[in-house]
């Protein structure tokens, strides 16, 4: 009968990243600590698996870093913030629906700079053909929401 010396004999990649989480992790624990060879054979679960851990329950948990989820409100705030930082736009005249060329008096080179600032802010490329059609902050927000699958 095999003794549960999983931590000694398990290969390195199978060792769990443990964290002292006060959650019920019995099932996860058993699954995490089983070596690969044991997964293939169908042995009954053994309740004595947890015996070797003396203290609190440990759970395998992996933490991934990610940005906060995008919402329409969030996108609109960021777009307006970037536009207010642009020095050729006066913040008082800026509205969500203000046209860059007709209302704000910018030209096409300025519009290219604005779209590049949006690319830097949101971290993805906007191709030329679609970039030259985006003429109001509202359209920019809609385009980014479409690209990033933000549901309305």
């Amino acid at each position: 009968m095999r003794t549960p010396n999983y931590l000694d004999s398990a290969p390195v990649f199978n060792r769990p990243l443990v964290a002292r989480c006060p959650q019920d992790a019995a099932a996860a624990l058993r699954l995490a600590r089983r070596p690969l060879s044991a997964l293939s054979c169908s042995r009954p679960e053994r309740r004595s698996d947890q015996a070797w851990i003396s203290g609190s329950l440990v759970q395998q948990c992996r933490q991934y870093g990610d940005l906060p989820p995008l919402t329409l409100e969030n996108i609109k705030d960021r777009v307006m913030y970037v536009l207010k930082l642009y020095d050729k736009i006066s913040p008082e005249k800026l509205q969500v629906s203000s046209h860059f060329m007709k209302d704000l008096g910018l030209d096409s080179l300025d519009q290219v700079e604005i779209i590049m600032a949006m690319e830097d802010e949101f971290g993805f490329e906007i191709p030329d053909a679609e970039a030259e059609k985006l003429m109001t902050p509202e359209e920019i927000v809609q385009y980014i929401a479409n690209k990033k699958d933000v549901y309305e």
Binding site: S108, L109, E113, E132
Partner: protein, 92 residues
Amino acid sequence: MASCSRSHVISLYRMLMKESKKFPSYNFRTYALRRVKHGFRENQHVDNPRTLDMLLGQARESLALIKRQFTQGRAVLSAPIKSSMMALLSCQ
């Protein structure tokens, strides 16, 4: 000629800005961005097609220069490359 069309000018501007943003050194980066912006803006109202061709040719050369500069001399910009690049950029 096709090189005189508006969309070509806009796409040249975009590519120049994108490549200029990749300079690792602050001085070159700010200089290149400012020079690109000013260069395009002061020639904004040029109508003569020949002048336009010449200017666009210069813009393409500087784009090729920046791209080469970026891939070749990425880690260290040695002194000869620096001075030749600054000379080329400033004589436009």
